[in-house]
């Protein structure tokens, strides 16, 4: 977690949509001790190309090595760091244990953040939130005094505006 002192960067990698391409990238990051915060992969409008979005916390030299070492991989078509103006979104699911008395307070938090309550049972509820990673981080801070049972984030997916 020491890397957290460095700013967060979002790396977008366009790769050939082949077997094992994600393993190649993950293996290279692991071998060179590059720490991945989150990783998301999906097809693009070109079915032959997959986009892999990786978020990292790294100093400038390490970030440069990450890009250059990724570029060396045969199936990588393009790799770049998304600029600060880019559109970055993440999805969160969070399950909170609660008795019905706490429900109004949780509804308030959900309202402020535009989160949806997608499941409700007598003992717990599940909320869904989409937004910038910072927004998700902020949202999660609201639950310090609650009984969070489970949580899951998709990792960042991102596009440049132009």
């Amino acid at each position: 977690m020491a890397e957290k002192q460095y700013p967060r960067s979002v790396i977008s990698i366009l790769v050939e949509n082949h077997y094992g391409v994600l393993a190649r990238i993950a293996s290279m990051f692991n071998r060179r001790s590059f720490n991945i915060d989150s990783i998301a992969a999906s097809e693009t409008i070109d079915p032959g190309i997959t986009r892999i979005t990786i978020t990292v916390h790294a100093d400038q030299n390490t970030l440069k090595q990450m890009l250059l070492q990724t570029e060396r991989l045969e199936e990588v078509k393009k790799v770049f760091v998304l600029d600060s103006n880019s559109l970055q979104r993440e999805l969160l699911l969070i399950k909170i244990g609660c008795d019905p008395k706490k429900l109004p307070a949780l509804r308030d938090i959900a309202g402020v953040y535009n989160a949806k309550i997608i499941d409700l049972s007598p003992e717990s509820l599940v909320m869904e939130l989409t937004g910038k990673p910072e927004k998700i981080d902020g949202f999660l801070k609201m639950f310090g005094n609650y009984n969070v049972l489970e949580m899951c984030r998709t990792g960042v997916t991102a596009l440049n505006r132009e």
Binding site: Y19, Q65, Q69
Partner: protein, 560 residues
């Protein structure tokens, strides 16, 4: 025309100019071997004792010729036995294509007999690798493999072929052999800036590595050195580039480099690094490497820039192309004062003392060079003998010194020597230098040298111990010789004879010279065991992480 996968395999090899293949058969590659049997007139297959030996042979073949080395192994253990050879080639940027058989596609992932996920295993030690999943892909994947191995920064590629692919058939369209692409682009402004920096330098040094040999840039390098009067130091991977008597040649740099090389880098005001990667055996302390210098780096691989040592200026491109461009703006200069300093350091450098009674490593190597002629290829294993070879072999040409630099693979030598001998034919003198530690790892390849009547001369520097590790234990671990003194009782002469080779045992310079002369006349493989002292050291030595200030120039025995 419709061909089976095995027929396509042979056709594409021939198409790509492959006439030599190293390998070892097995269940998953039976179809391929059946096809090789029918095509013996077009492709010569050399069978090793162990797949590792075949992988080093393909590597030695590639290093000696510049062509792509090819190795073939069966699935499972056959494939995993290639791993050390592939990693060796990867670390030293050697173009090799490895083919492995695998179980049929239906059996993949089912833990079938002799199944190993070699694609996953070799992912971090290849430039790229493939599993062929449809016979229709086979020809183009093979072509891609040859292209990638020879393009840009060279290296190994692995193609895994499941057994059913070798039996299935499809339409085959012949193609032209792929031409390796040498990048012609470079940043012209940066090259001009580099020339300017060198033109103004008072104490310039060129530090170069294997990239100069891989791109065949030795002539351009010498032109740069001579025009601007720049002394040069070289890494293990670049031995043989400069003439021994060239006053601008300062020798090997790094942990066991010359005093003058390390001192010159430490004092230089501008360092031009060409085709080299500031490894931890050269830039022993990356923060203090060339501490007073502006560093310029020329490399074909952008990821090498600033990787280990931060540089002031970089040009990404082929060494030959970029050095040629540099020459255009480089002025004729002389650096008399700088060369006087260097001459002084050269005079103060470490020199081993001769002996008439017992065998000394540098004298053994001197005799070998005197008797082998100027065209010999030298292949080493890893350890003290390797460093002595780098320091003391003379009259070595580019591509004539084959050694595992990056991975430091003990056991590399015999296979690589066999590959080089096969590549160049039996008229070529190939001398394999090894230690008793390294040799025991893969001496089984003697059977290969015997089977194919290869006149490889193996010189074993036998100090009875793992000398390099022992040297560290002597200097840094209070002489606690943990597992470096195995008390082996190998009789090399009898063992050589047992394999069908010829052996000699030598204890004096006179005996060695006589044995080597006899070995030169022997048509088959020769082993010459040289008994040397346990405590012979490789000097100079700068310990890992240290600087020129910490260089050890005298044998610790005297300080006892």
């Amino acid at each position: 025309m419709k061909l089976t996968g095995s027929q396509i395999f042979v056709e594409v090899l021939v198409e790509q100019g492959v006439d030599t293949l190293f390998g070892y058969p097995g269940g998953a590659v039976l179809n391929l071997y059946d096809e090789l049997y029918k095509n013996q007139d077009r492709i010569h297959h050399y069978m090793s004792a162990h797949e590792q030996g075949a992988s080093h042979a393909a590597d030695g073949y590639a290093r000696a010729t510049g062509k792509t080395g090819v190795v073939l192994a069966t699935s499972g253990p056959g494939a995993t036995n290639l791993v050390t050879g592939i990693a060796t080639a990867y670390m030293d940027s050697v173009p090799v294509v490895a083919f492995t058989g695998n179980v049929g596609t239906a059996g993949l992932g089912k833990d079938s007999f002799q199944e190993a996920y070699i694609e996953g295993i070799t992912m971090p030690i290849t430039k790229h690798n493939y599993t062929v999943r449809h016979v229709e892909e086979l020809a183009d994947i093979m072509r891609e493999a040859f292209r990638i191995a020879q393009s840009g920064r060279k290296g190994p590629v692995l193609v895994d072929i499941p057994k059913d692919i070798t039996a299935a058939s499809c339409e085959f369209t012949p193609a032209e052999p792929v031409q390796p692409s040498v990048p012609q682009e470079y940043d012209e402004q940066a090259v001009k800036k580099a020339a300017e920096m060198l033109n103004q330098a008072k104490r310039p040094i060129i530090y170069f590595g294997g990239g100069v040999i891989l791109s065949r840039a030795d002539e351009e390098l010498k032109s740069v050195m001579n025009r601007a009067d720049i002394p040069a130091v070289w890494t293990l991977m670049a031995k043989g580039t400069l003439e021994d008597d060239d006053p601008l040649n300062l020798g090997l740099i790094g942990m066991h480099g010359s005093f003058v090389s390390n001192k010159a880098i430490d004092t230089a005001d501008v360092v031009l690094a060409v085709g080299t990667r500031f490894s931890d055996r050269v830039a022993l302390n990356p923060k203090k490497f060339a501490k007073d210098a502006k560093i310029i780096q020329f490399d074909i691989d952008a990821s090498e820039v600033d990787k280990n040592v931060a540089v002031d200026l970089s040009v990404v491109g082929d060494a030959k192309v970029v050095l040629k461009a540099l020459l255009e703006d480089l002025k004729e200069t002389r650096h008399e004062e700088w060369k006087e300093d260097i001459a002084r350091w050269k005079a103060a450098d470490y020199r081993p003392s001769d002996s008439d009674e017992r065998l000394k490593p540098h004298q053994i190597l001197r005799t070998i060079c005197d008797l082998s002629g100027d065209d010999a290829i030298y292949v080493t294993d890893v350890g003290q003998h390797q460093m002595w070879a780098a320091q003391y072999l003379t009259h070595v040409k580019p591509r004539h010194f084959l050694t595992s630099g990056g991975l430091g693979t003990m056991g590399y030598g015999y296979g690589a020597a066999i590959g080089a001998q096969i590549a160049k034919g039996n008229a070529q003198r190939v001398v394999h230098l090894t230690g008793d530690g390294s040799f025991h790892m893969n001496l089984n390849e003697a059977v290969t040298a015997v089977s194919y009547d290869l006149p490889v001369i193996t010189v074993i520097f036998n100090n009875q111990v793992l000398g390099m590790v022992r040297q560290w234990q002597t200097l840094l671990y209070g002489k606690r010789y943990s597992s470096t003194d195995p008390h082996r009782k190998t009789n090399y002469v009898k063992l050589a004879e047992g394999f069908g080779a010829k052996g000699w045992h030598c204890e004096t310079p006179e005996e060695f010279e006589k044995a080597f002369r006899e070995a030169l006349e022997n048509n088959g493989p020769s082993w010459i065991e040289c008994v040397i002292e346990k405590d012979e050291k490789v000097l100079p030595m700068i310990p890992a992480g240290a600087t020129i200030e910490d260089i050890i120039l005298a044998d610790g025995k005297e300080a006892e």
